[in-house]
């Protein structure tokens, strides 16, 4: 967690609304040039965190730095390096798409000509050239979100904040947005992305943090998070029902935990510790016993499972978890 290699650093961020702490000591460190996913249910504090880090909201305690600039003391410098695309498209609905981008370019202090040129470039690249002259208010949700993203890319931000960027988008628009994010990241922009969709974090993020009730409950790569909540499982499907009992016996011997058996589907599963070694051992044992395998594989727990467990799911209503 050193400042020099982290584009976004937060230490002990606290924000209170009335008597509830929307953020309750949030620590963050987003390595420069990576895509960082912030995952959490509604009301976990994701949007509050983004609004604080983008200088839109004051905070009660803690420190935060964006690209080395202090959020509280150097807000103007921070605004100079960030891009923000919010949950709701922050564009002018009366102006046309082109007018919007020119306006924001001018407010970024581009010359009139440079602002126009940049606007046209972005409209072209985000597939909005055909509707450039129409009021943004008449755009579809996906088009508006693309315009919003284009608006936050006018100056090529060093750190891009995406607050639930695909909420309410159809799959096609979502995929378009995802590929735009990937491309930005590939070109060195640090991206902090909040989402309720585990799939989104899994797809895009190099590292993921899970936040709940204003604090971080877990952090790591997607694989690390999955690993943290439990062992991998080996799953075997045998061709003949006759092989089920013998396979169960082999798994009992080689696996790290209780074996589940579905005789009807001829499917067996068990947790394992060293996944690759376990796979090899099981396959050799099955072969030696002459059991014909229809399918065999290793499975990691899904992020959904990880998420529910990490946010102490069961008892809590985890609203909006993907699917």
């Amino acid at each position: 967690m050193t400042n020099t290699t982290s584009a976004v650093v937060a230490e002990g961020l606290r924000k209170r609304y009335g008597t509830t702490w929307a953020l309750d000591g949030l620590d963050l460190a987003v390595p420069t040039g990576t895509v960082y996913g912030m995952l959490g249910p509604n009301g976990a504090g994701k949007t509050t965190a983004v609004r604080i880090l983008t200088t839109l909201l004051r905070f009660d305690a803690g420190r935060a730095r964006i690209a080395g600039y202090d959020v509280a003391r150097q807000p103007e410098q921070v605004r100079g390096v960030l891009g923000l695309t919010g949950q709701y498209a922050a564009v002018d609905e009366i102006l046309s798409g082109r007018q919007n981008l020119i306006l924001f370019g001018r407010l970024h202090h581009l010359s009139r000509r440079a602002a126009r040129r940049r606007a046209d470039e972005l409209l072209e690249r985000f597939g909005l050239a055909d509707v450039a002259g129409r009021s943004a208010g008449t755009y579809s949700g996906g088009m508006r979100r693309r315009l919003d993203l284009a608006a936050s890319l006018i100056m090529t931000p060093r750190v891009l904040f995406l607050d639930e960027p695909t909420t309410g988008l159809d799959p096609r628009s979502r995929n378009q947005l995802w590929s735009a994010v990937r491309e930005l990241a590939a070109n060195g922009t640090t991206v902090l992305l909040t989402t309720q969709y585990l799939e989104e974090a899994d797809q895009l993020a190099d590292r993921i943090c899970v936040i709940d009730s204003g604090r971080m409950v877990a952090e790591g790569t997607s694989d690390e998070l999955k690993a943290r909540i439990g062992a991998d499982r080996i799953e075997v499907v045998v061709r003949d029902r006759a092989g089920v009992a013998a396979t169960a016996a082999i798994l009992e011997r080689l696996a790290a935990g209780p074996v589940s058996v579905d005789a009807e589907l001829r499917q067996l599963g068990a947790p394992v510790v060293d996944r690759v070694a376990a796979l090899g051992d099981v396959m050799r044992a099955l072969e030696a016993s002459g059991i014909v395998v229809a399918d065999i594989g290793l499975r990691r727990p899904t992020l959904d499972e990880a998420f529910l467990q990490l946010t102490a799911g069961g008892a809590r209503q985890v609203a909006g978890v993907a699917r």
């Binding site: 983008t54 200088t55 839109l56 909201l57 004051r58 690209a67 080395g68 600039y69 150097q74 103007e76 410098q77 921070v78 605004r79 100079g80 390096v81 960030l82 923000l84 919010g86 709701y88 498209a89 922050a90 564009v91 002018d92 609905e93 009366i94 102006l95 046309s96 007018q99 306006l103 924001f104 001018r106 407010l107 970024h108 202090h109 581009l110 440079a114 940049r118 470039e121 972005l122 072209e124 690249r125 985000f126 597939g127 009021s135 608006a151 936050s152 890319l153 006018i154 100056m155 090529t156 060093r158 378009q176 947005l177 590929s179 735009a180 491309e183 930005l184 070109n187 060195g188 922009t189």
Partner: protein, 288 residues
């Protein structure tokens, strides 16, 4: 999104390059430039929704016609003179007051739609939101005044004391519009719902107009109402404008009527002194 290739290649973001702390002159220059950009943006709104403008301009014109011709026949002007000539300065000022609604709903619209988040997250001068709104509203007020003056000339109104006095009258009217802009920005921030804000402005504006010297001389009202009307900020500007235009209906024995020109300057300045800081504070509280 036909291949986002080169999204990144465009313009290099330079860490805080646009704003170098400490350089006051530079800062001021950008504040002016950003204010002008925002003025342009707000004027573009007007151009893009002409139907609003048509409705907006037709109201004062209707007032001129309805009050001038329908009720005007039954109205008397203190001293002597044409009622329509008496009425026009009142309609000028009333139009400025109703402009407050447009200011407030414009501000409320920005705040409610989240576009203000984008303005606040880019390194532009924050004052530009206020100065841009003010600039656009003053341009708009000038257009309205032009329309009304033409309309007035058509129904027999005229200025009788020369161009300089007439321009001074217009200046006082625009000063009051400036005060209403501050008030409107404040309302727009307090009630950040563009629909509600219109509902609030009308009940405020209507009695303020009725209880003034816009339509009738305060001397013709019952005593206590007359006193309220005489002290009404609208009345000061209207009386001062009538005097400068040389239109009938000047006078009255009350202190405010005798010092209309002074009050026409003091009232707007007081309103600005109260509501401009309040608006700025509300604006800053958006970050709470």
């Amino acid at each position: 999104m036909t291949g986002v290739g080169g999204v990144v290649g465009g313009v290099a973001g330079d860490g805080g390059g646009a704003v170098n702390g400490g350089d006051a002159v530079r800062r001021f220059r950008w504040a002016v430039v950003d204010g002008a950009t925002m003025t342009g943006r707000n004027m573009a709104h007007v151009v893009r929704s002409p139907e609003e403008i048509i409705i907006y301009f037709s109201l004062p014109i209707m007032f001129v016609l309805v009050f001038g011709y329908v009720f005007g026949s039954g109205m008397t002007v203190p001293g002597a003179g044409s009622y329509r000539e008496f009425l026009l300065p009142g309609v000028f000022v009333m139009t400025m007051l109703y402009g407050l609604g447009a200011t407030a709903s414009g501000v409320a619209m920005d705040v409610s739609r989240g576009v203000v988040d984008r303005f606040r997250s880019i390194p532009m001068a924050r004052s530009a939101l206020v100065t841009g709104r003010t600039g656009a509203d003053l341009i708009r007020a000038l257009l309205e005044m032009t329309t009304l003056v033409v309309c007035g000339l058509l129904v027999g109104w005229q200025w009788r004391n020369g161009v300089v006095d007439a321009l001074a009258a217009v200046g006082l009217i625009l000063l009051l519009r400036l005060a209403f802009t501050c008030l409107g920005i404040f309302f727009g921030l307090v009630v950040p719902n563009p629909d509600t804000v219109g509902v609030i402005v009308f009940p405020l504006a209507f009695p303020l107009t009725a209880l003034s010297n816009v339509f009738v001389a305060p001397e013709l009202l019952p005593d206590w109402l007359g006193a309220v009307a005489a002290w009404n900020p609208l009345s000061a500007t209207v009386a001062a404008a009538r005097e400068l235009f040389g239109n009938p209906g000047i006078g009255g024995d009350s202190w405010p009527a005798q010092h209309a020109a002074l009050l026409a300057v003091v009232w707007p300045l007081v309103l600005i002194a109260v509501f401009a800081p309040l608006a700025v504070r509300r604006y800053q509280r958006l970050g709470r």
